[in-house]
């Protein structure tokens, strides 16, 4: 059937003005924040679960695949439309209401398009927040967090998204609506909620989500330590955890990152340091005081030149703003970058960081490190200008070497950004054929016809990294 018929039927299912097929508009939905591009046939904006279900049925009747999309801040091409025929992009941004807040049982039902930070802001007066705090939290949607099982600096203590999702209503690929999980702590049967969280939009579209709300800590202390070698900083991270302290957050930034971030936020980061650690401890006043002095002593014992404690909420906010803007601020060096998201055992931090640094410097590439040090979730960023001749091949090769190094150290491909398109061809580095087959069965059980976000996560065979050879200017892979 033609696209015109598809547009007409979707217009009947939703409303004509919320179904778009203009060339310019489609182009804006051909990728997410990753710049891995695809092609959409139609973009539509449902406002209710009923409309999502109706749109999915229209897709089924027309034999079209569809791609769920939240805010499009994904970094792995998860919301990039791919398929044998160009898919319909179903955008959740107009489904952005907080439906119910239960401050006693501490949960909320929200629509998928609610922004992560908006949710926390809306419940702050109740002394609560939504704990997963990706650096993109001001922009990303709760639906996207669920689909990518997103993490954030404070997930070291509080756990990633899956620990904060109780239940969700999902529209499956045939348009039927089911509820997975429940408000009860231990619902009966298989943990389908657990299977859905992290499925990157390949098992259906979440249309309502019950999230756990976490009390705001009564007391918080944030420490900023600067080191003259990355080595010392990495050793300090291991030292803190080895002492049995789990801070709320434990983040590292190297000199390259500190420089660009400071240029953006002017938060007083030491730009002459080789590495900076940002450590946050929270809890009851007494505990926080003890932890703060313990952490400070450990950092100093590992060679910290200076350890500062944030004087007030404003200083703390400025430090976090700096940390959380790092991915965007990097464009001040060069307009493109290639980012990895490997997780390695914390004990291997020092040698893996060394090796990653060597991989970049031996190819004359600029590399920055900004990452969740506490749980070994690296984010090595190669910064480059794609207009320079031959640079793409070098970047590509370095990327592959970085993944191989991390996997060889006992690590995994993705800590939180997801596999999407970008890392699907590297899946066989960590999973056996049997593992991959099992994953395919699970997916088929939810979506037997393969119409829900096709060509994501599971490898098709071919090159290892996302194809970065044909990107437009400003590419950010």
């Amino acid at each position: 059937m033609t696209t015109a018929a598809l547009v007409r039927d979707l217009g009947v299912a939703l409303a004509p003005d919320r179904v778009r097929a203009g060339a310019l508009e489609l182009a804006l939905y051909e990728r997410d924040a990753s710049m891995l591009t695809g092609q959409a046939s139609v973009v539509c904006f449902p406002t209710s679960a009923g409309e999502v279900s109706a749109a999915v049925r229209v897709c089924r009747d027309h034999g079209r695949p569809f791609v769920p999309r939240g805010s499009g801040t994904g970094l792995a091409g998860g919301a990039t439309p791919l398929g044998q025929v160009a898919p319909v992009v179903i955008v959740t941004t107009k489904m952005n209401k907080i439906l119910e807040v239960d401050s006693e049982q501490r949960f909320a039902w929200v629509e998928p398009g609610v922004l992560n930070l908006d949710l926390s802001t809306a419940v702050a007066h109740l002394g609560l927040h939504f704990a997963p705090d990706p650096s993109s939290q001001q922009s990303c949607s709760v639906g996207g967090n669920v689909a990518n099982n997103s993490g954030g600096p404070h997930c070291l203590l509080y756990g990633v998204t899956s620990a904060h999702v109780l239940a969700m209503e999902v529209v499956l690929a045939d348009g039927s609506v089911v509820v997975l999980g429940g408000i009860d702590p231990e619902p009966e049967g298989l943990d389908l909620r657990g299977a859905f969280v992290g499925s990157e939009g390949t098992m259906g579209i979440a249309t309502r989500i019950a999230v756990r709300l976490t009390p705001l800590p009564p007391c918080v202390a944030t420490l900023l330590a600067d080191f003259s070698t990355i080595h010392d900083a990495a050793a300090a991270v291991t030292g803190v955890i080895a002492a049995g302290i789990i801070p709320a957050a434990l983040e590292m930034m190297d000199a390259t990152i500190v420089e660009v971030v400071e240029a953006y936020v002017h938060a007083g980061f030491p730009t002459d340091a080789a590495a900076v650690l940002l450590v946050e401890v929270d809890g009851l006043r007494g505990g926080v005081d003890v932890c703060t002095s313990d952490v400070e002593a450990i950092l100093k014992a590992h060679g910290a030149r200076e350890v500062r404690v944030a004087a007030d909420a404003a200083e703390r906010a400025a430090w976090w703003k700096g940390r959380k803007s790092a991915f965007g601020a990097i464009a001040r060096i060069a307009p493109s970058y290639y980012l990895h998201d490997c997780v390695i055992p914390r004990t291997r931090l020092v040698d893996v960081l060394d090796e990653v640094g060597r991989i970049a410097s031996s190819r004359d590439l600029v590399l920055g490190n900004v990452f969740h040090a506490g749980d070994g979730n690296l984010h090595p960023l190669i910064v480059f200008d794609r207009r320079a001749p031959g640079v793409l091949e070098k970047v590509h090769e370095a990327g592959r070497k970085i993944i191989e190094t991390c996997v060889a150290a006992g690590g995994s491909l993705s800590g939180e950004h997801g596999i999407g398109i970008e890392k699907r061809e590297a899946m066989d580095l960590v999973f056996t054929e049997v593992d991959l087959e099992a994953q395919k069965w699970l997916r088929d059980a939810f979506d037997p016809e393969g119409r829900c976000n096709p060509e994501k996560i599971l490898p098709r065979g071919g090159s290892r990294c996302g194809d970065i050879s044909s990107l437009p200017p400003g590419a950010w892979v």
């Binding site: 310019l24 804006l28 398009g113 802001t121 803007s325 790092a326 991915f327 307009p335 400003g474």
Partner: protein
């Protein structure tokens, strides 16, 4: 046709989306077409040869030019410049004759005052259709206003167009507050009738340059130029860039938002009158104060002695006024305003402070109790008592002019 934008400036956008929640049109709709990231991607497409069509034009015309995306952007994309250039390229196809006439009228103080009197009479006679009145968000237009009286030569006060024609009481308050600081205020001649900000936004570059030249001529000497309208202040501070001349840059360096200038002398502000109730003052940050002049903290410094300051939970998002935006894009502007009004209602303030005439008219038309910070200060410190009666001040100004006496002599 291309937009001839700087490729490096365009390439600086890495599509991270961190600007999305700060953009009023994205917030109102959730659509990439109405987001900074989408607008930049579209500009890039046009410069790569995609051609300009109506969809592109609409994407650009729906931008409020609030520049919140610029503050939010970690990679320093100069969005304001990109959009101004784009509008300039689009102006021949996008700004119809009736709009050009309107922009012309702004540039001429006499036609604006004439229209104001006509409009005011029509309002009073009930001749302005309801729909039109709503769309224009007009306050009750003054038929006759007290003439402003200069008080000295320490600083200039920029008077401007709409502000002077419709909200002269704000200028009066500014003069009163400066007077309490023992700062004499000089007033410019008719050359300062319009800063050209709206012309820049509409892409009417040549007209903007002409008005900028005329405005500069109205402020001879080296005295600082204080501005009590956030949008005008941002425009005057940009003359250096607009005209690209050293003289213009030197002029821009003399320009201060009035709160910015007073903030460094805040310890000399007069105290609030004894026994006056401490009011809850919600701060509405005009975009061109917060995102362009980055002078939002100074408003707080100046107001702090006079009430309990309350912050809105929307991180200073735009109200939708946007110069001529509320007239040209009434539907989107209305959606944006609804969100702003909700944020304002949530904090239960006694009064809302806004340092921009456009915002205060637009929000005032939705029933928000809104005043300029200078009015709030003048009220709270009881400075209005010193005001001259309209009938007398003409005589007084003549006397001032003839006696060459400025400053403290005129009050009380």
């Amino acid at each position: 046709m291309t937009l001839r934008l700087d490729p490096d400036e365009l390439a600086a956008c890495v599509s991270c989306g961190l600007c999305l929640p700060h953009c009023p049109t994205y917030r109102a709709t959730g659509e990439e077409m109405l987001s900074p990231r989408g607008r930049i991607a579209a500009m890039r497409a046009v410069d790569a040869g995609a051609g300009i069509d109506d969809a592109f034009d609409r994407m650009m015309q729906t931008c409020v030019q609030c520049r919140a995306c610029e503050t939010a952007c970690p990679s320093a994309v100069p969005f304001g410049r990109l959009m101004e250039r784009t509008r300039q390229e689009l102006a021949p196809r996008s700004v119809p004759a009736w709009q050009r006439l309107g922009y012309k009228a702004l540039g001429s103080h006499r036609s604006l005052v004439g229209l104001t009197v006509l409009g005011g009479a029509a309002q009073r006679a009930g001749l302005v259709p309801h729909a039109l009145a709503r769309r224009l968000a007009l306050p009750k237009l003054p038929m006759r206003q007290a003439r402003l009286v200069p008080t000295g030569v320490d600083v200039w006060l920029f008077t401007g167009c709409v502000m002077d024609a419709w909200q002269r009481r704000v200028h009066e308050s500014s003069i009163e507050v400066l007077d309490a600081l023992r700062v004499g205020v000089a007033l410019p001649g008719p050359g300062a009738a319009c800063c050209g900000a709206l012309h820049v936004h509409a892409g009417l570059h040549d007209e903007a340059v002409r008005l900028a030249g005329r405005t500069m001529g109205a402020f001879p000497g080296t005295a600082p130029i204080l501005v009590d309208s956030a949008g005008c202040g941002a425009a005057l501070k940009d003359y250096g860039h607009l005209l690209g001349r050293a003289g213009a840059a030197a002029f821009s360096a003399r320009v201060f938002d009035i709160h910015e200038w007073i903030a460094s002398r805040a310890d000399q502000l007069p105290p609030a009158i004894d026994g006056a109730p401490r009011r809850r003052i919600a701060i509405q940050d005009p975009c061109h104060l917060r995102h362009v002049q980055r002078a939002d903290s100074h408003v707080r410094t100046v107001l702090r002695p006079y009430g309990e300051l309350v912050e809105l939970a929307d991180e200073g998002r735009c109200c939708g006024a946007g110069g001529a935006y509320s007239v040209l894009q009434p539907e989107l502007a209305g959606l944006i305003r609804t969100q702003k009004v909700a944020a304002i209602s949530a904090v239960e303030a006694d009064v809302v402070a806004s340092a921009n005439p456009g915002c205060s008219m637009w929000l005032g038309a939705a029933g928000v109790p809104i005043r300029h910070p200078m009015e709030i200060v003048a009220d709270a410190a009881g400075l209005h008592r010193r005001r001259w009666r309209p009938g007398r001040d003409r005589k007084m100004s003549r006397w001032l002019a003839s006696s060459g006496k400025f400053g403290s002599g005129w009050k009380r």
